[in-house]
């Protein structure tokens, strides 16, 4: 009798345990807590025509994000950094996006080219994603889901024009100088003039008929001679290093660097590439930039990641390395703000898009660029540029950060 009661009581107790415990724990016998992470997709060009810029950019982003993850991520959220080598190919860029768009919380898509950005735009719109790419003015004129990595090309060119006027006057010259523009015969090559031309007119400068040459030209004598014969006092050379280096090398061979001041854009000569190859030809060349360059970049605490991650000696650091760091910093700032706004569970492309527009005025790039300009209706990462000059084989600053004119607004889109 007593034994039976014990058996019965035990059976009832066991049934209670089996019934109640899972209910109390909400049916959640999960094996392990899932790691919180977000995805940063970099559709880079690592072996194609613009690899000279994209490889150091990738190294900068990769180094910074690795360090960020080692410190626990962004408020406990780790970053999965996916890099795809698109070789500057638009179809490959979009195909790669299609392949990776369903990865976990893809919050940021870096595209390698203006054409790639424009091809991806409808997909990002549909997916409510966030893009990041080259500073093409059209993306500011028609703000969508793409954020520019700096001020636009035309804004930078306009800042150079301001400097040209000041330089001309400082030299005691009267009237206004004549300015020539040379660039690749493609949309990027023409972009500075879409608003830059109007800004030159506003300043009263004479902008000579531009000279466009095929990307990959090895000699530029014909174009240079035409501009020189037209009376150019200043020549602005577009193109990714080493194109501007080669153009100015040819100008020196023609004897033009003695009488004409040459200048290059955001992708102009770097100490590690063009300047190293032709220091004498490039002496005196002015470069406008929205990110620190030369020794300023190498001496910045984040520039030192180049050496810390074993990429080489400080002298080998191409300037675009710090551009990659700013890419990662922009991403980090956006995610951090989005986490504050909506929390991890609701963190998606739309939350990131909204958050990116709330970083206005912040020093998200820790001094590597001017303050952040992203805002509602504003897609330029920063409005500030700095001018550098090549002196004795070094890229040295000749101005502080200055707000670039809004040349995008001057163009009739």
């Amino acid at each position: 009798m007593r034994k039976s009661l014990v058996v019965l009581s035990g059976a009832i107790l066991l049934s209670l345990i089996v019934t109640v415990i899972p209910l109390a724990t909400g049916c959640t016998p999960k094996a392990a807590v899932e790691e919180k992470y977000v995805t940063h997709l970099n559709l880079a060009d690592l072996t194609g025509p613009t690899a000279a810029v994209h490889v150091p950019v990738d190294k900068g982003a990769s180094a910074y994000l690795k360090g960020l993850n080692e410190k626990g991520g962004i408020d406990g959220v780790k970053v999965k950094y996916i890099v795809v080598d698109t070789r500057y190919d638009t179809a490959r860029t979009v195909a790669a996006y299609q392949r990776y768009r369903t990865e976990h919380k893809v919050l940021f898509v870096q595209a390698p080219s203006t054409a790639g950005v424009k091809a991806l735009a409808p997909f990002l719109q549909e997916d409510k994603g966030v893009g990041y790419g080259p500073p093409d003015g059209e993306l500011q004129a028609f703000p969508g889901r793409y954020f520019l990595m700096g001020p636009s090309y035309q804004d930078g060119f306009a800042a150079l024009l301001d400097w040209i006027v000041a330089d001309w006057k400082a030299k005691g010259k009267t009237g206004m100088p004549k300015v020539g523009h040379m660039g690749w015969d493609n949309p990027y090559g023409r972009e500075p003039l879409r608003g830059g031309k109007e800004y030159a007119e506003k300043l009263g400068l004479t902008l000579l008929p531009p000279e466009f040459f095929p990307a990959g030209s090895l000699k530029h004598d014909v174009y240079l001679t035409r501009l020189a014969n037209a009376g150019a006092n200043y020549i602005h050379v577009g193109g990714v290093d080493q194109t501007p280096t080669n153009v100015i090398r040819d100008a020196q061979a023609l004897g033009l660097t003695k009488s004409i001041q040459f200048a290059a854009d955001f992708w102009g000569p770097s100490e590690a590439f063009g300047v190293k190859a032709y220091p004498e030809a490039l002496e005196g060349t002015v470069i406008y930039s929205y990110y620190l360059r030369g020794e300023e970049a190498r001496n910045h605490p984040l520039g030192k990641l180049w050496v810390e991650y074993g990429y080489g000696s400080p002298a080998d650091m191409p300037d675009p390395f710090v551009l990659g760091i700013t890419q990662a910093l922009g991403f980090e700032a956006g995610v951090r703000r989005a986490l504050q706004d909506v929390g991890y569970e609701k963190l998606d492309g739309e939350a990131m898009f909204q958050a990116m527009q709330k970083l206005t005025g912040m020093d998200i790039n820790k001094g590597l660029t001017g303050s952040c300009a992203w805002a509602e209706g504003e897609r330029r990462a920063s409005r500030f540029v700095k001018l550098y000059q090549i002196k004795s084989g070094k890229v040295v600053p000749i101005t502080d950060w200055a707000k670039a004119p809004d040349a995008v607004a001057l163009y009739k889109w």
Partner: protein, 200 residues
């Protein structure tokens, strides 16, 4: 409590336990995701030319040299497969959703490496196009795609291809996949490529 009632109690209790376990199994089972809506139907795809043989590549190379006015020494430094750059390659199709994007990918043969292709990926995007209001597609294969993926070419630091270093895909029958924006919408065809001299 007599012996019979005890046995009854044990049986009843066991049944309750069993029922509890089964019910929990049902309640706590991972919920299946809601079924996806059916994928839009895939259209057709065709490539022109459907077969590229080495004789055609050589013929196009001669045209390429003439049009580009290449000096004999420069032409001699290039492999004839570069002629593919002068050959228009077009993908056409119909029956796709209207006003939608179609992506063309080349499936890589086993053991063949393509620069830029990430580990584990078995196909590479080579063209894309948007259908018209009738669901018809026409997409051109761009020069960069030919250079990067058919010729596996190298680039100079001057934004220009180094045509002397073309390393064309091995000859063979390749599969072309055409996807809609929903990757379940897919159709395939084969494409014969002979960018290298035929084996003797």
């Amino acid at each position: 409590m007599n012996r019979l009632s005890l046995r009854k109690a044990i049986v009843i209790t066991s049944l309750i336990m069993l029922a509890a376990i089964v019910l929990q199994g049902i309640a706590c089972a991972p919920k299946a995701p809601p079924p996806l809506p059916p994928a839009p139907p895939a259209g057709t795809i065709a490539v022109e030319p459907p077969k590229i043989d080495y004789a055609k590549v050589e013929e196009m190379f001669n045209l390429f040299v003439t049009v580009r006015k290449l000096p004999p020494a420069a032409a001699a430094a290039m492999p004839p497969c570069v002629g593919i750059l002068a050959l228009p390659i077009t993908f056409t199709g119909e029956g796709w959703p209207a006003d939608s994007w179609v992506f063309i990918e080349l499936v890589v043969l086993p053991g063949v490496e393509i620069p830029g292709l990430e580990p584990g990926a078995d196909s590479v995007g080579i063209a894309m196009g948007k259908t018209d209001s009738e669901g018809r597609l026409e997409a051109l294969m761009e020069t960069t795609a030919k250079l990067n993926f058919l010729l596996r070419g190298a680039w100079t630091p001057y934004f220009t291809p180094d045509l002397t270093k073309a390393d064309p895909l091995p000859a063979g029958t390749y599969t072309i996949k055409a996807f809609g924006t929903d990757r379940r919408t897919v159709t395939t065809i084969t494409w014969e490529l002979g960018l290298v001299p035929p084996a003797k």
